[in-house]
Amino acid sequence: MAIAEKALSELTDISSQVRAAVLFDGGGKVLASTLPAERAEGFAVAAKLLWEQAEVVRTDENAKLTQLEAATADGSVFIVREAEQTLAAVTSPEPTAGLVFYDLRSALRSAGEKPKKRKAPAKKLTPKAKPSGSS
């Protein structure tokens, strides 16, 4: 399983409030998702449009938008962005926003991690043999 897919799988395992999540790049290309491919693409497109609209209506032009929550009676949409990657998730109504954002940030960082190289097993240190004839 790819690292990004694993990160999203862990996200839905850890957070009972998150129903579905999708990770996509700046161009809207789906990198990983908890949804089937077709629905994941639709969700990514909708989340990207939501983010773009939120950037348009923001009141402070100088500060960069980093995350948002759009709450409705049917549920909430959370979006967090770091560098070129965006993670969007939907939750049940009235979620604990702080916890969801924390879990999404953690998942986004995990998804962006490079696979660790396996370390070579440590060599056993053998005690040096004492030179014979020494006193």
């Binding site: 999708v22 989340a47 609209q53 938008l65 939907v90």
Partner: protein, 66 residues
């Protein structure tokens, strides 16, 4: 006179009830919270014109993820 007053009173109660129900079902649960890099946050209420632009996209995202 009494009947007119009762009618006006009923209409006023009905209007208030309607506004309350509308707010309960269509506005109160809707909200957009925007978080910025500098740590600031802006909350846009569901009934505002800005939210009216953004909320349909949130609904679309929820529909797509369902």
């Amino acid at each position: 006179m009494g009947r007119r007053s009762a009618l006006a009173f009923g209409a006023a109660i009905g209007t208030l009830l309607g506004i309350g129900l509308y707010d309960r079902f269509f506005r109160r649960d809707q909200r957009i919270d925007l978080y910025f890099e500098d740590g600031s946050m802006v909350s846009i209420a569901g009934g505002s014109p800005e939210a009216a632009v953004v909320i349909p996209y949130a609904r679309e995202a929820l529909r797509a993820a369902r």
